[in-house]
């Protein structure tokens, strides 16, 4: 049934549809509405779950780790500083192979203090062993969160569903909300194979001495890499049942494109409009959306982009001292490739700066020029930067 809801409402509804048993979260803008809605569902009896109030995000995820270890479906939500405060426990959750699902409303990091959108928060925890899925719109929030539980439980890996704070979290739009019995069919009751049970004691979280630690890390890496197949399988099954199929990446008017945009998250929508605009003018411009950032879909991206002359990676994060994180990974994916396009990186939309159509066209023009001349003058450029404000020394 189509409902007119915000991204935060979509996230809360998906956790309810998944019949989560334990929720522990701490409020932080712009995701607060998710946990408010969920506590309402629990309070009025719509959702049979334990809602654990805690004093910080560090405790919220710690509570989720404990709950998940008892073998119940566990959910949390956060943003920005909250995610970074959780980061210590994020590595614990993946190392212990606990299939927790988290939604993250993407928001920038302090300092300067900013409550607005960029993707620095989730990008910063990309090495934590959590699967990361990014959403383009509110429909994808509900679909990806439902899929996230199945992916998590069938890979024994935690999954975070990321969506742009405010731009999606606070935007209301039509969303097809799946029926409860359909979601029940897709997500049967969850059974964790190694749950804490006083009758059958096990140790969870033992020391990994040097003779063993490396093997554990290797196995975790193998599992995260292999989760690509599960994401694809679950995306296909979801498509079969609900009519909307999902993969690791999505290509848009890309088959014969010479210049291709790459991004993740809500910027995808604005880029599609600009791609159509260029196509109407006869320009061969295309777009590839990265849905799964971890595991990184290196093979799919190389296949999708090998034919291009220039690729413009637009991203709302910066790995300070290097380039944008998505660009780093994409460059790495082309290591030893027989053929590689010119790669350009555009940093944009930091701390809530609006990414305008003019900015996207500017990136397209720069990339088209590179395609024509075969040369990249500046690898990393910042869109919408106000030059007059730059240059002040600390």
């Amino acid at each position: 049934m189509k409902k007119f809801i915000t991204g935060n409402e979509a996230a809360a509804i998906s956790a309810k549809l998944a019949r989560v048993k334990v929720i522990s979260a701490y409020p932080i803008t712009p995701q607060t509405a998710i946990v408010e809605k969920l506590s309402e569902f629990v309070a009025n009896g719509e959702l049979d779950a334990e809602y654990m109030k805690v004093e910080s995000e560090h405790s919220a995820l710690s509570a989720c780790v404990g709950a998940a270890a008892t073998g119940v479906r566990t959910f949390t939500a956060t943003s920005s500083q909250g995610l970074i405060l959780m980061s210590e426990i994020m590595f614990v959750a993946s190392g212990l192979r606990l299939p927790i699902v988290m939604t993250n409303a993407n928001r920038s990091l302090s300092a300067p203090l900013s409550i607005w959108c960029d993707q620095q928060d989730s990008v910063t925890v990309r090495d934590s062993g959590w699967i990361q899925l990014y959403c383009e719109n509110n429909q994808e929030i509900i679909d990806s969160t439902i899929q996230a539980f199945r992916i998590a439980e069938e890979t024994l890996l935690p999954v975070m569903v990321c969506f742009d704070g405010y731009i999606l979290s606070h935007t209301a739009e039509p969303v097809d909300v799946p029926k409860q019995d359909e979601v029940d069919k897709f997500l049967p009751p969850y059974k964790y194979p190694y749950s804490l049970d006083p009758e059958h004691p096990v140790t969870i979280g033992a020391v990994g001495v040097p003779e063993y630690y490396e093997e554990f890390r290797y196995m975790l890496q193998e599992s995260v890499l292999e989760s690509r197949d599960k994401i694809l399988e679950v995306g296909r099954l979801f498509g079969k049942q609900f009519g909307r199929e999902y993969g690791l990446i999505e290509c848009y008017r890309n088959d014969d494109a010479e210049v291709v945009f790459v991004t993740m998250g809500s910027l995808s929508g604005s880029i599609r409009d600009i791609v159509d605009e260029y196509r109407d003018q006869g320009e061969r411009v295309g777009f590839v959306k990265v849905r799964a950032f971890r595991p990184f879909p290196a093979k799919e991206l190389v296949e999708a982009l090998a034919h291009a002359k220039a690729v413009a990676v637009l991203e709302k994060d910066i790995s300070l001292g290097a380039t944008g994180a998505l660009f780093l990974d994409l460059s790495g994916a082309f290591t030893n490739a027989k053929r590689a396009p010119l790669l350009l990186n555009f940093i944009c939309g930091l701390g809530g700066r609006d990414v305008t159509e003019t900015q996207i066209r500017e990136a397209a023009k720069t990339a088209m020029n590179a395609a024509k001349t075969g040369e990249v003058k500046e690898v990393v450029q910042w869109l919408g930067l106000r030059e007059t404000l730059v240059g002040l020394k600390p």
């Binding site: 731009i167 604005s270 599609r272």
Partner: protein, 177 residues
């Protein structure tokens, strides 16, 4: 695509107005999107909210820079904020005002929404009254779609009062000549 910008002060319900309008258009089978200006809203401070309406799926996520219609919820805001900023040639500005106000390059319509709100709701929250004014001035959505949306959004007692606010404002709205 039609873009609408709402000007209000924190507490007057501009964000809710944008959402109610979008949902009313959605009920009429159109595609719609509603979002606040992503600021740190607080009671009394000037706030913005936006609605987009189209016949096809709305994909863009940029802010609205050139609205077709502007709705101003607070009678004193035009003195503090450039409410006509970026409005399309021939666009309409709908104002909470006791008398007609002129703007270059834009049509205007007005209603004393503060009085309507006080009479019908008992509080000077003008968002629903101004939606009635917008419907009258532009025909963007049907009055019935707005009232249906209100009924879905508010509790029964509140929705009844707000439906009255919309209807009264609709009747009293005048297009400036």
């Amino acid at each position: 695509m039609i873009e609408i910008r709402f000007h209000g002060r924190g507490g007057q319900g501009a964000v809710t107005a944008a959402r109610l309008l979008a949902e009313a258009a959605f009920l009429e089978g159109k595609h719609a999107q509603a979002f606040p200006f992503f600021g740190a809203e607080r009671r009394g401070a000037p706030v913005l909210a936006f609605t987009r309406i189209d016949d096809k799926q709305i994909r863009t996520r940029t802010q609205v820079y050139e609205p077709d219609y502007v709705v101003v919820l607070d009678p004193l805001l035009p003195e503090a904020v450039d409410v006509a900023s970026g409005i399309k040639q021939g666009g309409t500005i709908v104002l909470n005002s006791k008398k007609a106000v002129q703007f270059p390059h834009a049509k205007t319509a007005f209603v004393d929404a503060s009085s309507v709100a006080r009479e019908t709701l008992g509080v000077p929250i003008t968002n629903t009254a101004m939606l009635g004014a917008l419907a009258k001035a532009t025909g963007l959505v049907k009055l019935e779609s707005l009232t249906e949306t209100i009924k879905r959004y508010f509790s029964s007692k509140l929705s009844e009062k707000n439906v009255t606010a919309i209807k009264v404002a609709y009747e009293r709205t005048r297009v400036a000549t």
